[in-house]
Amino acid sequence: MSIASTRYATLDAGRNYWGLLAVLAGVVLAGFAGFLHLEHEGHWITGMNNQVVWGIPHVFAVFLIVAASGALNVASIASVFGQVAYKPLARLSGLLAAALLSGGLAILVLDLGRPDRLIVAMTYYNFKSIFAWNIFLYTGLLAVIAVYLFVLFQPALARWTRAAGIMALLWRLILTTGTGAIFGFLVARQGYDAAIMAPLFIIMSFSFGTAVFLLVLAAACRGSGRVLGDALLFRLKNLLAVFVSAVLYFVLAYHLTNLYATEHHGFEAFILNFESLYSKLFWLGQVGLGSLLPLALFYSPKTRNCRVSTLVGASLVIIGGLIQMYVIIIGGQAYPLVLFPGMEESSSFYDGVVASYVPSFWEFLLGITGVGIGLILTVAGLGALDILPEDLSDPKPAS
């Protein structure tokens, strides 16, 4: 398949298409109503408190932002590393990345204590803050993706594709590093203070982004009556399998280096001893459901050439990814800050005890809203622009 011979088309705007858009719009509207209620009442109606200050909305937001960066994998592989098979998918890769990023950012904004001050966030910068840097990185990535897509859409600009692709690749690597650094820089927190957070986030982005891409591609093909060839689907699956293994490896390295330092033993036991909720989520959710089971599906001889197994596996990677975010973000906060190492602490402000956090309906609503925004932008983009190739079936073997 050469890029010149690829023909693209919009999704047919039939009844199903409008139906799907309407459902997604309903989700986003419901989410916005929930946001107005939250904004009116204040955060006490959520499960978040002075101990666990970032909750379910941040789990979804960080997942979407990280996945957005990873959704660009296919574009990078096609445009930077010249893999011909992925070239027809580069447009979808760019669109999906921009859509997921927008969804994630929307959650972060809607969860602010003062969302009405968004303009303040955009006009006053503290350049020492990694958070402020991320605001630039996120909006910058949207611009970079726009340029990349523009170049892809103009045959006359074809020779710039690689340059635009390299730009997008570098930008998203820095962006994911920055997202990981939000946590890695929190030196006082037992669970976060680790340089490995940044590379861990990069590899997580590869894994989650590829899983989302694979599912969206399969759904778009199915919905529009296109044939998605086995070769392409399994190729993506193999790529995903490598990323899932790599995440597992980095998680292992993270915990092993932490275990080496006695000072971190308390937090490590908290995550690894299978007693706390977070530990159970770690082993059963993140490792079992989100990593080992998909790997078994992707690699075992019985299922590795099965399309359904591939789709189930990719879905599990997403569920496991959300659980991993929960363990990192909530677990890291639930574990008490250590003010006096080696001593027992107690107070009226939950010193020395594992903080409780019971997420509320409103928080899930915000999280789902971000997902809805990501999907609605994707679907709208697919309907309005020539994103999806008309033919993604396997190339016929030359006879």
Binding site: N50, Y124, A188
Partner: protein, 240 residues
């Protein structure tokens, strides 16, 4: 100061932010209100844990009253600027009690991470939140090693002119900046502790070698909590 505001502009604006419309000049200054805050002084506290009584809550009550921090019956979300911390050594069981609040770090992580610069440190060492530019992202709460900050989870009423507060912003101990700027040279907690006869909290200028606080630190020494983080805190403790 952050955003180039003078102290006066900050205080006036902050008053308005707390749902209280303040006319200019509501603040009474014992000294020239235009006098710049300088690093000639560094305000701080010294806590002697031997004098602090475990069953005494006077400092906390005084702070709550001074700033009208209300008990809304939701301990997980209610604001606490100062709390009593009990620390027990598992080896031998020695137990000490101490007040814990914003440590007014010289290198404050909360200020480093704040995306808008709402968290800021005055030249005289007091760390504050500008209620005009705080967007309520709570990153400072993630970064503070002392769990010193509270997020306001609900609508507030009856705020005091000296303590502008409001839903959706983060707040913490201000070292009674309104008292300091009025030249009172004390804080509500130190005053209350003194009145109760414990004298466990001493307020003063850490830069002035002749101040009581400096003399006591020179004579008996004092420790920072989590000194390993290198934050150079303005709140010091004795007999930890």
């Amino acid at each position: 100061m952050s955003l180039g505001l003078t102290r006066r502009e900050f205080l006036q604006g902050a008053g308005a932010a707390g749902a209280l419309t303040l006319a200019p000049g509501v603040f009474l200054y014992a000294k020239d209100p235009e006098a710049p805050v300088t690093d000639a002084v560094r305000w701080g506290l010294l806590v002697d844990t031997r004098l602090c009584q475990e069953d005494c809550n006077a400092c906390v009550d005084a702070c709550n009253e001074e700033h009208n921090l209300q008990d809304l019956g939701r301990p997980e979300t209610d604001a606490q600027w100062i709390r009593k911390l009990t620390v027990r050594d598992p080896l031998g069981g020695r137990t000490i009690s101490l007040p814990m609040m914003c440590q007014h770090c010289e290198n404050p992580p909360c200020v480093d991470v704040c995306p808008t610069g709402a968290s800021f440190r005055r030249e005289d060492g007091i760390v504050l939140v500008d209620k005009h530019t705080c967007i309520g992202c709570r990153y400072c709460m993630m970064a503070c090693p002392y769990k010193a900050r509270s997020f306001i989870h609900e609508n507030l009423t009856e705020q005091l002119p000296d303590a502008p507060r409001g839903k959706g912003c983060v707040e913490s101990c201000t070292l009674c900046v309104h008292k300091v700027d009025a030249g009172e040279n004390t804080t509500a907690c130190a005053e209350a502790c003194h009145k109760d006869g414990h004298q466990a909290i001493l307020f003063g200028d850490l830069n002035d070698p002749d101040s009581e606080i400096s003399k006591r630190i020179r004579e008996f020494g004092a420790t920072q909590i989590r000194a390993d983080l290198g934050l150079n805190t303005g709140v010091r403790y004795q007999n930890l």
